[in-house]
């Protein structure tokens, strides 16, 4: 993929992103994520996100192995996010867009937030084939 194509894709994706080297070390943090992850630059992504590797890595690996952008919807740390992994000459850009969040205040808010997440995943699934996150949510019990 040309540098121009990579640049165009990155601008079209969420402004919240990190760039990883081949060892999943954070080499760049976008301004939107700077407060959350700026101090993690130079660190391996997984070292600070317990349990995230199994969730995120399939998307990252597919992007690396195909050399093409890969998009997925994942659930991690109570949030549903759209991941867009875009390989480029400077590394793998991982864009994150938050689609929904669990509200654990009460069972009522938990139920409502689960329904909102289901809706978000449903809208997403109607555009594409069923996402792993939605299938997993359905399989919770």
């Amino acid at each position: 993929m040309s540098s121009h194509a990579v640049s165009t894709l990155r601008h079209a994706a969420s402004g919240a992103y990190v760039v990883l080297d081949d060892d999943d070390r954070i080499t760049h943090v976008s301004a939107l994520l700077h407060d959350d992850l700026g101090h993690r630059a130079g660190h391996v992504l997984w070292d600070h996100l317990p349990g995230a590797r199994d969730v995120y890595e399939p998307t990252l690996e597919e992007a690396r192995s195909t050399g093409r952008p890969v998009e997925s919807v994942v659930f991690y740390a109570g949030r549903v996010k759209r991941l867009t992994a875009i390989p480029g000459p400077d590394g793998l850009a991982v864009h994150v867009e938050r689609l929904g969040e669990l509200d654990l205040t009460s069972l009522a808010t938990l139920t409502r937030s689960l329904a909102r997440i289901e809706d978000a995943l449903g809208r997403r699934a109607s555009e594409r084939s069923d996402s792993p996150a939605r299938a997993s949510l359905r399989a919770l019990l």
């Binding site: 205040t105 009460s106 289901e118 019990l141």
Partner: protein, 138 residues
């Protein structure tokens, strides 16, 4: 037969639900909140807990209940004292782990198990209704 373990008071409220006393073991967490109204410190908690506290004050009898708040299921013990004061004690029974869908599922199952053990049918049924929303794809 269920065994009820006596819980040590952690926080004391005045008649206006203001925090007026904190056990030394809980000082780091609740000490800075002394003087504040409980509900202002823990958003969304009032409708979940206040009815039980009011009942304890009205009946002048201790009230024991299980409640879900902020991802935690806890057994709470409220003991009425003079002048509308209330001593609160609690123990955590389960915590939802939202790291991944797998940990969420596991912790939900554990929470249901704890509620089964505590024989709290009301909250257990409510939790099951919550989970049915997921199953039904609401």
């Amino acid at each position: 037969m269920a065994v009820t373990v006596k819980l040590a008071p952690i926080v004391t409220l005045d008649a206006a639900d203001r925090i007026v006393g904190v056990a030394s073991a809980a000082e780091s967490q609740f000490g800075p909140l002394v003087g504040s109204v409980l509900w202002e410190c823990f958003p969304g908690s009032e409708p979940l807990f206040k009815p039980y506290y009011d009942r304890a004050r009205r009946s002048v009898e201790p009230v024991d209940f299980v409640q879900f708040y902020d991802g935690i299921i806890a057994r709470v013990h409220a003991t009425p004292r003079d002048e509308g004061r209330l001593e609160l004690a609690w123990e955590q029974l389960a915590r939802l782990d939202t790291t991944t869908l797998e940990t969420l599922s596991d912790s939900l199952s554990e929470a249901l198990g704890q509620l089964d053990a505590k024989r709290d049918d009301g909250l257990r049924d409510e939790l099951r209704r919550t989970l049915r929303v997921i199953e039904g794809g609401a």
